[in-house]
Amino acid sequence: MEPALCDLKDPLINHAEGQLFLNEAFKIIVEEVLCKGTDVQQKVCEWREPDELARLLDLELRDAGEQQDRLLQRVRDVAKYSVKTSHPRFFNQQFAGVDYHSLAGRFLTEALNTNLFTYEVAPVFVLMETEVLRSLRQLVGWTEGDGIFCPGGSTSTVYAMNLARYRLFPEVKSQGLWALPRLAIFTSPESHYSVRKGAAFLGFGTDNVILVKVDERGHMIPEDLDEKIELSKSQGAVPFLVSCTAGTTVQGAFDPLDGIADVCDKHKLWLHVDAAWGGSVLFSKQHRHLMKGVDRANSVAWNLHKMLAAGLQCSALLLKDTTDLLKRCHSSNASYLFQQDKFYDVNLDIGDKSVQCGRKVDCLKLWLMWKAVGSSGLEQRVDKAFLLVRYLVDQMKKRDGFHLLSEPEFVNVCFWFIPPSLRGKEGNADYQNKLAKVAPTIKERMMKRGTLMVGYQPLGDKVNFFRVTVFSHLVSHKDMDFFLDEIERLGSDL
């Protein structure tokens, strides 16, 4: 017997040590990330240049391990230099804030460490995912249907494209695109870039993504959609999918779903609604009208980690289909996972609906949060977000120097800050150039001070403007006042 085999008698691992570390590290996480991270007295971010941060973190991976004290210090360092995305003054992305029930659900998900491909290895979560999807579909207006959680909204877009293609030409699964005519996809220039990335990835080619005109508020124009479809057909292509958006990334616009659905019905195209951002309005009786007509879609993407703070990733793809399309399209019947002679109903093994093999449990955090606050609690959060935005816009209008791009339809507030030196100078030749530099400078200043984080971007011919997304239920009107004051403080001398 080899010497090493004698050592196999005892486990190599010291459980007590591991558990001690878990406990100690958790205390640090609560204090440094959660308490400090949601405290307005603390900074939103602790900016460091990449070189400096690399040094501070001592990134190198070595032969020898480290003591617990050192590791706990590392936990502190990670907390210190990470951006506090739950901070009431973090407005940079379409996720923010924290729900503590969801967080507990996420910790639990990590501790239970399993994959969602079969009932035998994830019984609780297979059932939970089914129930969550059913409840989400109900809000869309479907009493039946299918769905799955994807690792992100971009993947949901990819799935929708793949399903639409398979429905029209099932032979593509085995034959590839060579057996098909040239397919065309329609979307607006305000839609998420995952439509283009998806088109490249799936082999359609980005040239075959046809852009439909939008109005001045960023909404797809159904009449132009109809024209573009006719034009595409006349050129010998086969339109098969329209991807419209409920809550565009920058402006938060909601495409007119009923009008678009009419066009899709006429031409028999798959209608996908990318509601990754705006989908949560469906919880609100007051605001769900923004998605009127959504039940006419074939598929809806909805990311609960955005407006409702469920925690990355929580991206649902919902389908109206009841013909097992998802499974037929994706299955490969791997015999080492999906044995047909199991002792339970193998329809519970949902793995073959996915293009993934291992798939994370993303439903527990949402389920736990939903159980804790109920649909009515989630509705209140959505309604509160709209009220906060209304307040912010009212205040902005009262102050000099804040110039809205348009009245917000959702919770994206897009505006320019015009420093005093530029006010009244719109006629100057270099006005646009100067204005374009304002937002990046203010952004740099806010990050180096750590007081605030908000994003900026250009759009079409509009130069850099801020996009503040207000929706976290941790945010109050005081934070809105601070926001406006701070932008002024940071930019008045420009």
Partner: protein, 523 residues
């Protein structure tokens, strides 16, 4: 209504707010009872809740789950389980204590994948340092597309990728990223290979391309087939190369298939070699395959999702000999190295920003070029995803804690365990090894006494085929252990034992064999 730490507001509040919102001047309510006043969080209540939740997690999902005296699983039928969990989502909320009870229930009825007798999949066990890293990741809750919003994790992913590339042996360096699973990594390889073949296809699509062919072994993971379907190539354009009786791709057969494809007017462009096949744990001969790929100018990807861990072991890295010659590698630390799910790396031997060029869409709301820091740190456009989880950190912290040496010891131990199991199986009557393991997969039949005198033939095979499913059902209902079974080719159902976790001892392996016999001897 109970005052809730997440700020569920009562009916009274709502009415006041509605009134105030209808004020003449249109201004929103700002007084003390106002909806908009102050954060609806009570930090003390939140902390208390989280501490209680974590106590439950540590007691039930960590301590008990790793205790050999507790069950691996608490089997319930779906109907029973739905009721026990009270699964339906409702309009109203619930108290903290109810939610904590729900956490306990979720744990109770979940499979304890960290149990010493969980051998069902290619992941198992518990790595507390990785788990802490995953808790931090959840608490920090950010996305890995830009340096500005994830500075720490951006640098960490880069450090981990560099180290993994160093272990592979690409001296000139490389590129990569972490993906939501190995299937995705394999898809990235196919996409990059297509892009390198003809970058224009990104815009014009596959229609005008010649028929492109992928090659992989018959033992490879099904994600190659799924990739072909998803990316528009079609599964029939995946040519399966036969493997030998040890499960390894036969290089001369690869050469034949390439020639076959060419003779049909098709264009082979991608070969997938597997380092550690799913069922047998076999390693394709990478060096020989690399020579063939170089000769024909084909992209060579190595799916080392399972077997990549061998690179850390001086004793076993020879299994991947030649890997420094390949174009791309998929390697999942969440498998043998026990990083928390998901932790899947995709690595490419390229310094020309191929990943970025292939995938970029340059969204102006994320990847502004006028940022105040070096925007080459924004990794988002390398990915097909937008938001991406900081998975590499789960590997980084555990590597810091354990060091390469300890990781190596674990790999060596896992493979020694497989050898031990192999020896024991050979000693025992009624157990028949399918083949000697090259890695950590030990595949064998259990033949109950009643079948031991039957000659090898259709009758034995038919009856043997029914044994494993019944033993599996019994082990799950008892909750004593979990092992997978499957068919393969024309072989009747057999068990696949995979030893990963260093918490598993010889006694556990002896137990497995004893228990299979206990559960199946009457069949």
């Amino acid at each position: 209504m109970e005052r809730h730490m997440n700020g569920v507001i009562s009916r009274e509040h709502q009415n006041i707010v509605s009134e105030l919102m209808h004020q003449e001047d249109g201004s929103a309510a700002v007084d003390g009872s106002g909806f908009l006043n102050g954060s609806s969080e009570d930090m003390h209540a939140a902390e208390s809740f989280l501490h209680q939740a974590m106590d439950i997690i540590i007691d039930e999902a960590v301590k008990k789950a790793t205790n050999v005296n507790e069950k691996v699983c608490e089997w319930r039928s779906p109907e029973q389980l739905k009721e026990l969990l009270d699964i339906e989502l409702k309009d109203g909320g619930e108290s903290e204590s109810k939610i904590l009870q729900r956490c306990k229930d979720a744990i109770r009825y979940s499979v304890k994948t960290s149990h010493p007798r969980f051998f069902n999949q290619l992941f198992a066990g518990i790595e507390p340092y990785s788990m802490v890293a995953s808790f931090i990741t959840e608490a920090v809750k950010t996305s890995l597309y830009t340096y500005e919003v994830a500075p720490v994790f951006t640098l960490m992913e880069d450090a981990v990728l560099r180290k993994m590339i160093e272990m592979i042996g690409w001296e000139e360096g490389g590129d990569g990223l972490f993906n939501p699973g190995g299937s995705m990594s394999n898809m990235y390889a196919v996409n990059l290979a297509r892009y390198r073949f003809c970058p224009d296809l990104k815009e014009v699509g596959l229609y005008s391309a010649p028929r492109l062919v992928l090659l992989t072994s018959q033992e490879s993971h099904y994600s190659i087939s799924k990739a072909a379907a998803l990316l528009g190539f079609g599964t029939k354009n995946v040519y399966l190369v036969p493997s030998d009786d040890r499960g390894k791709m036969i290089p001369s057969a690869l050469e034949e298939k390439i020639q076959l494809a060419k003779s049909e007017g098709a264009v082979p462009f991608f070969v997938n070699a597997t380092a550690g096949t799913t069922v047998f744990g076999a390693f394709d001969p990478i060096d020989k395959i690399a020579s063939i790929c170089e000769k024909h100018n084909l992209w060579l990807h190595v799916d080392a999702c399972w077997g990549g861990a061998a690179l850390i072991s001086k004793k076993h890295k020879h299994l991947l000999k030649g890997i420094q010659r390949v174009n791309s590698v998929a390697w999942n630390p969440h498998k043998m190295l026990m990083a928390s799910l998901q932790c899947s790396a995709f690595l490419v031997r390229d310094k020309s920003s191929l990943l970025q060029r292939c995938h970029s869409a340059r969204a102006s709301y994320l990847f502004q070029q006028d940022k105040f820091y070096d925007v080459s740190y924004d990794t988002g456009d390398k990915s097909v995803q937008c938001s991406r989880k900081p998975d590499a950190f789960k590997f980084w912290l555990m590597w810091k804690a354990l060091g390469t040496k300890e990781l190596e010891q674990r790999v060596d131990r896992a493979l020694n365990m497989a050898k031990y199991l192999e020896q024991e199986i050979k000693k025992r009557e009624g157990f028949k090894l399918i083949m000697e393991p090259e890695f950590a997969n030990v595949c064998f039949w259990y033949i109950p006494p009643s079948l031991r005198n039957l000659p090898d033939g259709p009758e034995l095979r038919k009856k043997l085929h029914t044994v494993a499913p019944v033993v599996k059902e019994r082990m799950m209902k008892t909750g004593s252990m979990m092992i997978g079974y499957q068919t393969h080719g024309d072989k009747p159902n057999f068990f696949r034992m995979v030893v990963i976790s260093p918490q598993v001892s010889r006694q556990d392996l002896d137990f497995v064999l004893d228990e299979i016999h206990n559960l199946g001897k009457d069949l």
